[in-house]
């Protein structure tokens, strides 16, 4: 039961509780008033004589103006304003939030931590720290819903959406899929484990991650032959990716912001936005790389803003280029054969 529960009060949740119950009280009062007035009229003005004709008053301009302006000016505008404020709080993560990547598919939630830990239908987070989820779906639309945190965000295919939360107190909380997604929609649930920081550290150490998400991405970067063209010395046939993330990239016909969606699109549909001065020679990786691996690659590319990559170029890259040089055409019909 979470009526007024004090177990867990992040800012959003506290604001929500205050606002929600203020509205319940306000609307409840008005609704009760109307109901009471209806009952009062039905009894007090009940028909006593079958032929009676009551006074025929039918219009009162001041009354009309009152009940047009009163709700609008005092209630509706306040509700709109506060609802919007709260919404902006929910939708805009704080700058220091830690990223966790979530891939939704029919019918499970897969989470990947920056440190490389992977989970299915569960998500471990430290208490008291803002966590930002970057989410994408492999198939239909899903929705990431944690009632206790008062957050919900649809998870779309082919596009990252973001939600954040900050859980103040340790505990276990429901995760639901809130957008209908097929047969086992009601089984697409999980748990959010909020842990005290030291317990969280212990969990990380026993998590069994084989290196960070970025290092997984680095391996993939070589496996898929990306490094053959995207060289870090600037002499490759493809753009140098160091410091790419968050930059404005000049492309044919304008600029593009190099965010997660841009990097993902450039892997799967390289010709959509060609960097100015380069040729459209990159093959598509559509159908050859999973959403999880794309996320690892993105994490790797995001990590490339230090001097660290210089040493990477010396690594012997296992080349599987022959495979990827022949672009398999992605046919829309493939989608429905599953």
């Amino acid at each position: 039961m979470i009526f007024f529960a004090a177990a867990l009060i992040p800012q959003v949740r506290a604001e929500f509780q205050w606002f929600f119950w203020a509205m319940v009280i306000l609307c409840g009062t008005v609704a009760t008033g109307i109901a009471a007035f209806l009952i009062f009229c039905a009894w007090r003005f009940r028909r006593k004589d079958d032929n009676e004709l009551p006074p025929q008053n039918a219009m009162n301009i001041p009354a009309e103006i009152t009940w047009i302006l009163l709700p609008l000016l005092f209630f509706f505008i306040a509700m709109f304003a506060y609802g919007t404020k709260l919404y902006f709080d929910i939708e805009r993560p704080p700058a220091d939030a830690e990223d966790v990547y979530v891939v939704a598919k029919q019918w499970m939630w897969k989470a990947q931590h920056i440190g490389g830990e992977r989970e299915i239908n569960s998500l471990h987070v430290p208490a008291g720290r803002p966590v930002r989820l970057r989410m994408i779906s492999q198939d239909a639309i899903h929705s990431f819903f944690v009632p206790e945190f008062r957050i919900k965000q649809d998870v779309l295919p082919q596009r990252y959406t973001t939600i954040w939360f900050s859980a103040e107190h340790a505990g276990t909380y429901h995760l639901f899929c809130a957008e209908y997604c097929g047969t086992n929609h009601s089984h697409m649930t999980g748990w959010i484990y909020v842990m005290e920081p030291d317990a969280y550290q212990r969990w990380l150490q026993t998590g069994g991650a084989e290196g960070s998400l970025a290092s997984t991405g680095e391996k993939l970067f070589h496996q898929h032959g990306c490094s053959n063209c995207h060289q870090f010395n600037g002499h490759g046939r493809a753009p140098n990716l160091i410091g790419l993330y968050g930059q404005k990239v000049q492309i044919a016909g304008g600029y593009a912001l190099a965010d997660e969606d841009y990097i993902r699109e450039s892997i799967l549909n390289p010709n959509a936005k060609i960097v100015y001065g380069f040729q459209a020679i990159m093959p598509t990786y559509q159908g050859q790389i999973s959403e999880e691996d794309i996320i690892a690659l993105i994490a790797y590319i995001k990590s490339l803003d230090t001097g660290a990559p210089l040493q990477l170029t010396t690594l012997a890259a296992p080349v599987i280029e022959t495979n990827s040089a022949v672009p398999t055409k992605s046919h829309p019909a493939e989608r429905t054969t599953r």
Partner: protein
């Protein structure tokens, strides 16, 4: 002039016995008979959708699901939604009571296009049978919202057949709306100016505007969805560069106004019942009339509030939120004016009046929870949960269906020429009110607690509210079946109805019950305002 309280003369030809035989019904162009054809059809669809709903409520009695597997449950809620929305609620009041009473209330012999009216029924039935085919073949599991890309690429059920059925039924909506607009504009009796029209006519006019302007958008959206599903090309699937949010925008551009298609006529019915049984003109006539139009117009600009968590931009969400508060205003105006009408009136508690008062109470709750959903920060938590389910059932079931039942009782003497059994009717009205609130109020709580909608199974902590809701649904079911039985009974065995049993003012009460084929022997000339008891008090023997 006919005495308004006179009992029907023994031998007259009315619209029911003017012609005989099944063909005289199937080929009729009489708006009253077509209204009855619609009434029978949508009643059948209503009980079909009701059976789906009861099965769903049974399933949710226990957390693990009581009777069916998740696939079947998904089909149940989809078919419940499709049947109820497109084959009951959208046509409910407009195509039955609207068809029957618009010409009579404006003093016309028929609608502007009687053949088109009949055609609309056939088109409706064709759409209905196509959808039934989809149901019989195994059903649809997309939800009534058909969200892409689930509907275009992942569902393995009869999506195309269901979409085609809705597509076809849409044209029936368009024909009806077109017919009503043309009729209300051009067929009014001499002297019946716009501001003398009963509010029912105003709300049917507003409804018709939505029908003709919103329905085609749904039609083309569903057609595109069908093409995408069959040929694997299209504009919604993101795998092909499409934007699934475009589908949602187009869908809600129809489906939000569609809610007003359901509730505006209901408001119109209530605006007739309350003055009649308060024996007073409707308070703030012009405010109520204009508020119908405001709802129809602003209602087209608020669809985005269904998509606050769907991934759209914060600032467009803000605009939609603001407009959603604006559209709440005209509804509030109506509620205040209805209650003010009863104040210092001469209130008689009949079954229609019980339904009307129940409507106001329930609609107020439904509307006010809409304010919660329009507040974006709250919507994030409660959208796609049972809170939304409860909210729109308060509008559609508590609002539209109760007003529909109220209207059927109110005009039953005119339609059938017989009185319904009053005490039984009041009892079942109370049953509907109690059953309804017991069914849907717990769902607000479930939604607040976080139970998502469209769940075939749920965590055990939600069970108690689900059990309450199911208990309410059985009561509600009884409340719906009883009127069906006694209304059919009264058609044959009821007391003959006088031409104006409620002693009220509308033109429809100035013809015999049931009315003759062409409604009025002579086109009436109107010299009074709507609900003008003062002007008609001699005729009505009042005062």
């Amino acid at each position: 002039m006919m005495s308004t309280i006179a009992v029907r003369p023994p031998v007259v030809t009315d619209y029911l016995n003017a012609e005989h035989g099944i063909l005289s019904w199937l080929l009729t162009t009489d708006h009253k008979r077509i209204g009855l054809l619609y009434l029978f059809s949508i009643t059948a669809f209503f009980f079909l959708g009701g059976v789906f709903a009861l099965l769903m409520r049974l399933q949710l009695l226990v957390p693990g699901g009581l009777i069916v597997d998740p696939d079947t449950y998904n089909k149940l809620f989809t078919m419940h939604g499709i049947t109820m929305v497109w084959f009951f609620l959208i046509p409910s009041i407009p195509n039955t009571l609207g068809n029957f009473f618009i010409p009579m209330m404006i003093g016309a012999k028929d609608l502007a296009f009687p053949k088109l009216n009949l055609l609309s029924w056939y088109v409706f039935m064709l759409g209905g049978f196509t959808t039934l085919y989809a149901i019989v073949r195994g059903g649809v599991d997309t939800g009534w919202t058909f969200y892409a890309p689930f509907s275009t690429a992942y569902s393995k059920t009869y999506v195309v057949a269901a979409a085609v059925g809705i597509f076809i039924a849409g044209f029936s909506s368009i024909m009806t709306g077109l017919n009503f607009i043309a009729t209300i504009h051009r067929m009014r009796a001499p002297g019946l100016t716009w501001f003398r029209l009963p509010i029912f006519i105003w709300s049917m006019y507003a409804t018709s505007l939505i029908l003709v302007l919103a329905t085609p958008v749904l039609a083309i959206t569903l057609a595109t969805l069908g093409i995408e599903r069959i040929f694997h090309v299209g504009i919604f699937d993101p795998a092909m560069g499409g934007d699934p949010l475009l589908f949602q925008h187009l869908f809600w551009f129809y489906s939000h106004p569609a809610v007003y298609i359901m509730v505006l006529p209901a408001m119109g019915v209530v605006s007739e019942i309350i003055p009649t049984f308060s024996r007073k003109p409707l308070f703030g006539y012009k405010a109520v009339a204009f508020s119908s139009m405001a709802i129809a117009i602003v209602g087209f600009l608020v669809w985005g509030h269904h998509m606050f968590v769907a991934g759209m931009s914060l600032y467009s969400a803000m605009v939609f939120s603001f407009l959603s508060y604006l559209v709440a205003l005209p509804s509030a105006i109506k509620v205040f004016n209805w209650t003010a009408t009863m104040y210092k009136g001469s209130v008689k508690m009949t079954a229609p009046m019980l339904y009307a008062i129940g409507f106001i109470g329930v609609f107020t709750i439904g509307g006010m929870t809409g304010l919660f959903l329009a507040a974006m920060g709250i919507d994030v938590h409660v959208t796609d949960t049972y809170f939304v389910v409860a909210h729109f059932h308060y509008i559609m079931v508590g609002g539209a269906v109760m007003a529909f039942l109220g209207g059927i009782h109110y005009w039953w003497p005119k339609i059938s020429g017989k009185m319904y059994p009053e005490y039984l009717a009041q009892l079942s009205a109370l049953t509907v009110f109690l059953g309804f609130n017991l069914t849907f109020f717990p769902q607000f709580i479930l939604g607040y607690l976080g139970m998502p909608r469209r769940y075939a199974t749920y965590p055990p902590e939600f069970q108690v509210w689900n059990v309450l809701s199911t208990a309410g649904a059985t009561i509600l079911g009884v409340g719906y079946i009883v009127p069906l039985i006694y209304l059919l009974w009264s058609w044959k065995y009821g007391q003959d109805a006088p031409s104006n049993p409620w002693r009220t003012t509308g033109l429809e009460w100035k013809t015999p019950s049931p009315p003759p084929k062409h409604n009025f022997e002579n086109t009436p000339v109107v010299t009074w305002n709507a609900y003008d008891f003062e002007a008609q008090k001699e005729e009505l023997h009042l005062g």
